[in-house]
């Protein structure tokens, strides 16, 4: 490709070229800051329209980084979203003054996608109210800045629940619908984005549009899993279901391959309501299997449990003792596993979150554990999303990369049931091309544990994982932000150019979430 040089901070002819992040030399992971031209006029226009813009360092500093903590940027100002009309005013002014707008929900990105490198940060959590619950239709209409946890709090009082959401209490509905959202029931119910029935979207040029598969379907297809490129989701209608606590079972494996085989066996046969793999490196591999009802659990026990090759906790402990007794030089690893188990396991079994042996709320349990035992100043979580048949290879190759770069790490693997009628939604998303029935995703998360790694080290690690994806024809969940140099390599020029043309049409000044993809 012949890509002319452009001034740092300006949008070049191809925003997803391999060198698209026009950053500071060597610090390739931070885009340069927007130069602020047009800001005073933009702010004046907003204030005239009654929109509050906070410009103090303390207000802006709340958003200086995201959950990844490796990308840093300061917006020129912050607007807390209050209504679709207000967001529309903001986007129209942003187009006119060419001011970048970064929409942010829970800020749980890791590649700087929700970090504003200048311009205005639009904090969607200001729009976080549940609007209506329709029991007859089993749907909820909610403002999209709501945290899934906030939605759960409200639904639970009515004996209801959402279908699936990320296992993190501070993910927002809008942010999740824009990227996918994976739960441990996604192998059965699909990604969180698939439960959206209709959306209210403010387009980059400031129109407020209702869309669904039957109304403004093209916009709906682009906004769902669209990484915030084609509009700001302000309201969402989602499917809901009756609430049930779940009964959880854990099976332990000493190889990834067996655990993945068993995970896919369960998914193919609809043998469980929830399934996923969580590991401590590749030594302690935990397949979790859970059920909403006693009937489903009984059917699993009768038909499938004996086919699983995993052990119970005690059996696994015996295997481990045998394994490390034959490899005394790996005693350090054994001690780490033991220490980690002692710290983490009780979190998953805290009595206040269980009633009569059933887990009350999986997101509370997992999210607490994740923040307490996985969270750290820097988090890089590169991932690979593949078709079912390529998954074992992808995980094993990614695991080898983790072993090379970090002493300790965790893998998290889940299946995602695909909807044939949503093929258009999945275009240029984490769903890998060619996937049918299920896609599988694996997150590779190093345990930082107080150690200090350079951003270059993190970046090399992520590149090594993502190179596997290019090689295998996979996709990624986190391909935006600092990883957008992979977009053309993994999706191909034809698809990317088609989306870029749509983006240019929808967002003439290219102002909305510009450091995410385009």
């Amino acid at each position: 490709m012949d890509i002319p040089l452009v001034e740092p901070g300006t949008v070049g002819p191809c925003p997803v070229a391999p060198d698209a992040l026009q950053g500071i030399v060597r610090q390739q992971t931070n885009p340069a800051r927007w130069n602020g031209e047009g800001w005073p006029g933009f702010v004046a226009e907003l204030r005239t329209a009654g929109v509050d813009v906070a410009e103090s360092a303390s207000a802006r500093g709340i958003f200086a980084t995201d959950a990844g903590g490796t990308a840093y940027g300061m917006p020129h100002g912050v607007v807390v979203a209050r209504s679709a009309a207000q967001v529309a005013v903001l986007l129209r002014a942003a187009q006119a003054h060419r001011v970048p707008v970064t929409a942010r929900g829970g800020g749980l990105t890791t590649e700087g996608e929700s970090v504003a490198y200048g311009g205005v940060l639009l904090d969607m959590t200001g729009m976080s109210r549940v609007l209506t619950i329709d029991r007859a239709a089993m749907t909820v209409r909610t403002e999209a800045g709501i945290y899934w946890h906030g939605l759960a709090e409200e639904l639970r009082r009515e004996g209801l629940d959402y279908l699936s959401a990320p296992l993190n209490m501070t993910s927002s509905v809008g942010g999740t619908l824009g990227v996918g959202g994976i739960d441990v029931n996604s192998a059965r119910l699909g990604c969180s984005a698939d439960q959206a029935i209709a959306l209210q979207v403010v387009t980059p040029t400031g129109e407020i549009v209702e869309c669904s598969d039957s109304e403004n379907a093209e916009l709906f297809q682009r906004v769902i899993l669209g990484y915030g490129q084609f509009g700001v989701i302000t309201e969402a209608t989602l499917k809901i279901r009756p609430y049930t606590p779940l009964s959880m079972h854990y099976y332990y494996y000493s190889t990834l391959r067996e655990a993945i085989d068993d995970l896919q066996l369960l998914d193919r046969n609809d043998a469980s309501d929830y399934s996923g793999i969580l590991t401590i490196m590749d030594c302690a591999v935990n397949l979790l299997v859970a059920f909403d009802s006693a009937e489903r659990e009984a059917a699993f026990k009768a038909n499938w449990e004996k086919q699983l090759r995993g052990h119970g906790e005690f059996g696994f402990a015996l295997c481990m003792v045998g394994h490390y007794a034959r490899r005394p030089w790996r005693l350090g690893e054994a001690l780490y596993l033991l220490k980690r188990k002692q710290a983490v396991f009780p979190e998953f079994r805290r009595p206040e979150f269980h009633r009569d042996g059933r887990m009350d709320d999986r997101t509370v349990v997992f999210s607490r554990a994740v923040w307490k035992h996985w969270g750290s100043r820097n988090m890089v979580i590169p991932d690979l999303a593949t078709t079912a048949d390529k998954f074992v290879e992808a995980v094993e190759r990614g695991n080898a990369v983790c072993r090379k770069y970090f002493r300790h790490y965790t893998l998290y693997c889940v299946g995602i049931k695909l909807r044939a009628d949503h093929a258009a939604h999945y275009e240029m998303s984490c769903i890998p091309p060619g996937a049918e029935g299920w896609a599988y995703g694996c997150e590779f998360e190093p345990m930082i544990e107080g150690e200090v790694y350079s951003r270059d080290h993190f970046q090399s690690f992520k590149n090594a994982i993502y190179d596997i994806g290019v090689d295998m024809g996979a996709s990624y969940y986190r391909f935006g932000g600092m990883m957008k140099g992979y977009i053309r390599r993994v999706f191909g020029d034809a698809l990317v150019d088609r989306h870029l043309a749509m983006k240019r049409k929808a967002d003439p000044a290219m102002i909305l979430n510009r450091d995410v993809i385009f």
Binding site: A54, S58, T65, V80, Y147, E153, P351, R368, W371
Partner: protein, 317 residues
């Protein structure tokens, strides 16, 4: 966890936002500045107390943020420390002087186990007498109400006053009505047997057997959050035994009915308080609301539409 440094202070905030989920100040305003995260991040960006005055004033000191912070940051301590740098709110300074005078005039506490009722209960003589009778305890005339105000507004505590107050309590069994004072006493008197008034009343058979499955039970947030890992089991047992609903959220954090600063000191609910109390009861249809904290009765009466009783009123309800 972000770092293993101690003490756990604002630099350790990773911005996870978990504290926002439980913060009534944030819920009422949906503005990130009005949250513990907002305060910690503002401090990380060099903000001084004066710049944060409005936010600091809005905090209810309900303590809900402390147990949920995965970084174990002492968030309410952070807020009170910042309040210390602000000018004392004049109305509350006057209130504190009044309590100081009352403490100076108080007669010595009776021997043995003691009730420190707190200002709200002290202000309701009939209810106080009922609580004393139920517990078989006498209330101390000097129950540290001035100290509770100082703890709330971040005022200085005169060391002589502190010594005198604590000396009178050393080695006793104490039932404490004020959640902030209870938390402070736990630190100052690690060897004392200290219990919150709500917990003690809830354990009395005469009260417990009158709590019904149709009741909505409102835990006093400050006392609960100061000892949440232990008390969560107490309230779970109460729920199981009586079948009542409790103001605990999915994280087992108590939803406080107020959302504006200095609850119980400044009387008269704000619009934020009414919205927060409404949210607490949203989606519930109780026959009665039961409160541990008498200062919350009036507010809840305005939004509940059903009888609101203090636990002590249950004994002969």
């Amino acid at each position: 966890m972000y770092s293993s440094a101690h003490p756990r202070e604002y630099p350790a905030c990773s911005g996870c936002s978990l504290c926002r989920l439980v913060c009534p100040m944030w819920r009422a305003r949906r503005d990130p500045r009005y949250s513990p995260e907002g305060i910690a991040k503002a401090r990380q960006n060099g903000a001084e107390a004066a710049e944060l005055a409005e936010v600091l004033d809005a905090c209810t000191l309900c303590g809900a943020c402390d147990p949920v912070c995965p970084e174990d940051i002492a968030l309410t301590d952070m807020i009170v420390d910042l309040r210390r740098e602000l000018e004392l709110p004049p109305d509350l300074a006057v209130l504190q002087v009044g309590y100081q005078q009352a403490a100076a005039d108080a007669s010595a506490a009776p021997a043995g186990a003691l009730l420190l009722p707190g200002a709200a209960l002290h202000a309701d003589a009939g209810l106080l007498a009922r609580v004393e009778a139920l517990l078989g305890l006498r209330a101390a005339q000097d129950d540290g109400a001035d100290l509770a105000v100082a703890l709330e507004i971040g005022g200085d505590i005169d060391p002589v006053r502190k010594r005198r107050f604590l000396a009178g309590l050393e080695g006793r069994s104490l039932v404490v009505g004020d959640g902030l004072l209870l938390r402070w006493l736990r630190r100052e008197l690690p060897g004392a047997r200290l219990q919150g008034l709500g917990q003690v009343l809830g354990n009395l058979p005469a009260i417990r057997r009158r709590i019904a499955s149709a009741d909505f039970y409102v835990i006093e947030a400050r006392a609960y959050h100061a000892d949440q890992p232990r008390l969560v089991a107490h309230y779970d047992a109460l729920r199981k035994e009586t079948g009542c609903a409790i103001n605990l959220d999915l994280q087992r954090i108590a939803v406080p009915p107020r959302a504006s600063g200095y609850p119980g000191l400044r009387m008269g609910p704000s619009a934020e308080d009414l919205a927060q109390a409404g949210w607490m009861l949203h989606g519930r249809q109780p026959a009665r609301v039961l409160v541990e904290n008498p200062a919350e009765r009036d507010l809840l009466r305005r939004v509940a539409g059903v009888p609101v009783l203090h636990l002590a009123e249950l004994a002969d309800a």
